[in-house]
């Protein structure tokens, strides 16, 4: 299942270094089976699911970041499915 991370950090120490780490889980078997049952397969499925998921995050970003992020996503997904 894809989960949408929600987080917030409130830092009151101006000299602190703050990092955030997020984890997401694997794409659900239910979702993949649904795509396959409609005739889609392989890389197309992963692309659609991951893009769809990320789109929800990207649209919150300022335009120039969103465009960049979209491109990066395209690059990193290429060939990631055997």
């Amino acid at each position: 299942m894809i989960s949408r991370p929600r987080f917030g950090l409130e830092v009151k120490n101006s000299t602190a270094q703050v990092e955030h780490e997020a984890t997401t889980s694997k794409i659900g078997e239910d979702q993949i089976f649904f795509f396959c049952q409609r005739g889609l397969s392989g890389e197309d499925v992963i692309n659609m699911i991951v893009n769809g998921f990320c789109k929800q995050v990207f649209r919150e970003l300022p335009m120039e970041f969103a465009v960049e992020a979209q491109k990066l996503l395209g690059v990193s997904l290429e060939g990631s499915v055997g």
Partner: protein, 258 residues
């Protein structure tokens, strides 16, 4: 079109299907009924190729080919469609985009030209109108935030657009109010044709009042224990499944009707 022979299937080593025999010809509508846990949904998923179910014995011939040897996407492209009991939500992927990709994957497999956005839109509008669907659903993510009724209607809508040869509907009637049930039934009836077969998996007679089946099969403990015409469904409604479980000997073969 479809011939299931002595099909056994398990989930996590629990045997759910224990020897199903079923023959479905083009143009026929078969209803598969049975109590909870009898294996109805398992049968539907095994036919669609769900990997979490292991077929341990038997075979399934679809249009003269070994269905069980095909991966699920190939089965879909060859015309097998499963309407899900619990349709899956796909956040961020619009219904429109998803369905066009699916239709084009199927068309490509069949050697047809892919539809461009305009042609697709025309097709979709026509189908939505006949199913009385809200056009705004097309631009929303697949099933995301849809009501139970909208999800079920969306399955029927996908079926109408993809025009399968063998449609398997897994409890599409559950959770529908009477108006939605009628709309869904109309959608199914519109797809009845001499070259298409439909398998309706259902608990209740209710749907069968609107979509009248040619044959009714009763599943119990992974076997078809009784087969008959549409009147069998009425009898079940009246007497319940207990009547069958007490009276019927499990039928090993011969559940197929011809």
């Amino acid at each position: 079109m479809l011939e299931v022979k002595n099909l056994h299937a398990s989930v996590d080593k629990n045997e759910i299907l224990r020897g199903i025999d079923l023959k479905v010809n083009a143009g026929e509508v078969h209803a598969i009924m049975g109590p909870n846990g009898s294996g109805k949904s398992t049968l539907a998923h095994v036919l669609a190729g769900r990997e979490s179910y292991q077929v341990t014995e038997g075979e399934v011939i679809y249009e003269g080919r070994d269905l069980l040897a095909m991966p699920p996407e190939l089965r879909a492209r060859e015309g097998v469609f499963l309407a899900f009991q619990y349709p899956v939500e796909i956040p961020g992927v619009s219904n429109m985009y998803f369905l066009r990709a699916a239709l084009n994957a199927i068309r490509k497999h069949r050697g047809l030209d892919e539809l461009d956005a305009m042609d697709f839109l025309t097709l979709v509008r026509e189908k939505m109108k006949s199913l009385d669907m809200d056009q705004t659903l097309m631009n929303r993510p697949v099933n995301d935030g849809f009501s139970g009724g909208e999800k079920k209607r969306n399955e029927i809508f996908q079926m109408a657009v993809l025009e399968p040869k063998l449609a398997i509907l897994d409890e599409t009637d559950s959770g529908l109010d009477i108006d939605a049930l009628k709309t869904v039934a109309d959608g199914i009836n519109a797809l009845r044709s001499p070259d298409r077969a439909i398998i309706l998996v259902t608990h209740y007679q209710r749907l069968l009042n609107y979509v009248v089946p040619d044959y009714v099969h009763v599943l119990s403990e992974g076997r078809i224990v009784k087969s008959g015409g549409k009147e069998l469904a009425l009898e079940l409604e009246e007497k319940g499944y207990v009547w069958l479980e007490e009276s019927a000997q499990p039928v090993k073969s011969g559940a197929s009707l011809r």
